[in-house]
Structure formats: C-alpha cells, structure tokens
C-alpha cells in the first residue's frame, strides 16, 4: 500500500465554525485576519446578482443547523478565473437557529457542454466525508447536461426553486427525495 494514500476524512464536528466561520461561533477576531468566503461580490459587477438560499435537511426533515456550506461556481461569463469584483467561491455556515445559509452571488454562465450550475459542498457533525452536489436553475435548459442526465429520475433534486430576488434550494440527506450526491 502506498505511503501516500489520501488522508482519511473525519467529520467537521459541531464546532467547525471556529476554524471556518468564526463569526458564527461568536468568536470575535482578536489577533486574526478577516474570515474567508463570506463575501463573493465587491463593487459593481457585470452579471446578474442573485441570492441563493440553501437549507440542508436531515432524515426527519429537520434543518441541519450546524452545517458548513461552500459553493464554487463559474462567473457570469462561464469562467472560473476570479476577478476583482467576483469571487467564485463562497462559504457560509447555516444559521444556528434557522439552519438557512444565504449566499449573495451572481448567476453562473454555462460551461462548454454543461448547463449553468453551482457546486455545493457540505460538512457537518454526523457527515463523515463531506458531501458534494450541484445546484441547477429552473429557468435554464438542463436537459442535455451530463450530470442531470446521469441523475436520471432523481435529477429534480438538483434544481433550485425561483424565489425573488434569487433562488432557494433544499438539500435532503435522506428520504424519498434524497438529493443526488456525487463522487467526482
């Protein structure tokens, strides 16, 4: 066996905020730099601004209030090259009381051969290996996207709902409408 096998994953635990979203832990930054991933947009941007509200539900339909959620998406031109106005990466902790995470971002453009999408990554207590899924948009043509095709009759679990001024998306960890998670 290789000495260089990937380090095995462990849960982020309930206190992930201390390291990844200190403002949520109630940890005021004394000697530390600013938290990462909190803001994706700076100044005036060329794209279409939107909110993306994400809630993760457990097997009983209860919100996972200690989840850490990251998104990674193309900019409005369909590119992952960051600009001064837009960071393709965002990170929010679920609200400790409601379980909702809100991202203020730009609608992604399409990549070659794929419909516009957002990669979503979830770490939390009780999740041994962080989960990766995708979010697609109800007002785009998703029919020929390879991930949507592969998801088959579960593809609708990857599509957000329109909710002005943006979209809401529910991620179900279990149950009849369990979200499709990918191994990529």
């Amino acid at each position: 066996m290789s000495d260089f096998k990937e380090s095995p994953s462990q849960t982020a635990g309930p206190y992930v905020h201390i390291g990844c979203a200190p403002q949520t832990a109630g940890l005021e930054q004394r000697g530390m730099g600013a938290p990462f991933g909190h803001k994706m947009i700076a100044g005036v941007t060329p794209g279409h601004e939107m909110t993306l509200d994400i809630t993760v539900l457990d097997g009983e339909g209860a919100p996972v209030k200690d989840a850490l959620i990251e998104i990674w998406q193309a900019g409005p031109e369909g590119s992952y090259a960051p600009t001064a106005q837009f960071s393709n990466w965002g990170r929010q902790a679920a609200d400790l009381t409601t379980g909702q995470a809100r991202f203020q971002t730009l609608k992604p453009g399409a990549l070659k051969g794929q419909a516009p999408h957002v990669l979503v990554w979830i770490a939390a207590r009780g999740i041994n290996l962080a989960l990766t899924s995708r979010i697609y948009f109800p007002d785009e043509n998703n029919a020929s996207d390879p991930f949507m095709i592969a998801a088959g009759d579960r593809a609708e679990t990857l599509v957000a709902a329109k909710a002005e001024p943006g979209y809401t998306h529910v991620i179900r960890l279990q149950g009849p409408k369990e979200t499709v998670f990918f191994d990529v």
């Binding site: 994953s9 849960t11 992930v16 530390m32 999740i127 990529v184």
Partner: protein, 241 residues
C-alpha cells in the same frame, strides 16, 4: 474526457457515511450510493489564497487570541508536516485551517456548554499556507480530551480539526489529527468509523524531538495527503484558462 486528472477517491478507505456507533450519522447519512461522474472544469478548479490574505498571528494559536503580554494556557506544541498528494508531490501554497478545544477540552463556541473552563487567552482558530515544498507549521497548545453526547460514556481523544484546500475542489478535505499514545483513539466511535487501522494510523501525529525546541516547545509531525494529480493531464487541463 478519457482519463480523470485526479485519481479516484478510495471510498472503502474513508469512513462510510453511516456508522452505527456514531449516532449523529443515523439521520445524516445519505442512503443512496454516491453517483460517480467524470471530472469537469468545476471539480478541477478551486479557490486560491495568498499570504496577504493572512494575518501575522494566524498560525500562532498561543498568541492570536491572547491579550498583549499574555498567552494561552497548556502544554506548548508546534504542529508541522507536509501537504502532499498521493504521488508524494508537494501541494504548494494551499490554505490549511485548524480549530481545536483548549487545554481543558472546552471550545470557544456559543454551543459548547462543557463545564470545563474557557481560557481568556485562547480562541482555538488558526490557519496557514503550505510552502513551496508543501511544508506547513503552526504553534498551539495541546488540546484536552472532552466528553460528548453519543448515548454513552464517550470522550473524544485530544485532537485538532483540519480543513484543507487543494488545486481543485475535488481535493477538498476535512479531517482530524490525533496524538500518538492516546488511549481514547481506540475507544472513539468517530475515529473507529474509519474501517482500516492503517488508515487511522495516518491521522496520528508523532512526537518529533528533532523539531522540538529545548526549554521552549515540543513538536508533533503530521503529514496530510490529498488526492493524486495526474501531472501531465492536469497541466494541459489548466492551460489556456
């Protein structure tokens, strides 16, 4: 795409989503298998961070929450090692974030109600970038073990949580580091959710007397390995972005 730039993840090596003895997994483990897909630009790219994004004390947990002239309580330690990929190559310039309990086993977190005391001079949050040779290092104090609600008499071994970024989002990893010789490692349902003892051993840091500074601070060595990168494919893929 015929061949994926990142080598496949060995899902038998990682802990399974559902581990009966770790109760929090019962309602949070997906029941479908993960859907395997070829990697696209979305998974091959990821955020980048620079030294300018970090504060001067971000890698010093002994001082980064302490009042001027004071320091965190507990045994002083350096935690260091290399960030590598499965080909043994350095993964350079990547963000490593850590968080941990204080020397008494208490987290500075609104939801931690353990009766052990907080330390006014300890926050428990740190971060650094890996160097050109993959090396990373931070200073902290030895965290204490703590009890947690899991239906029985469960105590976590002393540990430090790690969040690591790679070249692409497919390499993103969260894990925990343990300390050699800790009897709680064998008793902990979270650690033991990892099926293979060899894999567990990869998360156990070793006392490193070579990096220990006499009369000052002990060192522990912990290497972190991310998914392998097929170098040729990866460079071709990244060019022209």
């Amino acid at each position: 795409m015929t061949k994926n730039p990142f080598s496949p993840r060995d899902l038998q090596w990682h802990p399974p989503a559902l581990h009966h003895d770790y109760r929090s997994t019962h309602l949070r483990a997906p029941q479908h298998k993960l859907l395997h897909m070829p990697q696209t630009e979305t998974e091959l790219t990821g955020p980048t961070f620079g030294q300018n994004d970090l504060g001067p004390l971000d890698d010093d947990l002994i001082l980064n929450y302490a009042t001027d002239g004071q320091m965190a309580q507990g045994p002083r330690i350096i935690v260091h090692g290399k960030l590598l990929d499965e080909n043994g190559r350095a993964v350079a310039g990547k963000l490593i974030e850590v968080w941990q309990a204080n020397a008494s086993g208490r987290y500075r977190h609104v939801n931690d109600g353990y009766l052990a005391p907080l330390d006014d001079n300890f926050g428990g949050c740190g971060r650094c970038l890996s160097g050109a040779d993959g090396s990373y290092s931070f200073r902290t104090i030895l965290p204490g073990p703590y009890p947690w609600p899991n239906g029985g008499n469960d105590w976590r071994p002393a540990h430090i949580h790690f969040s690591v970024f790679g070249d692409g989002f497919a390499q993103r990893l969260i894990t925990q580091m343990y300390f050699e010789g800790d009897p709680h490692i064998k008793l902990c349902p979270i650690v033991q959710s990892i099926p293979d003892e060899t894999a567990i051993d990869r998360l156990v840091a070793r006392l490193d007397m070579d990096k220990t500074i006499p009369m000052d601070i002990r060192a522990y060595r912990f290497d972190i390995v991310l998914r392998g990168r097929n170098a040729t494919l990866f460079e071709n893929q990244m060019e022209g972005r």
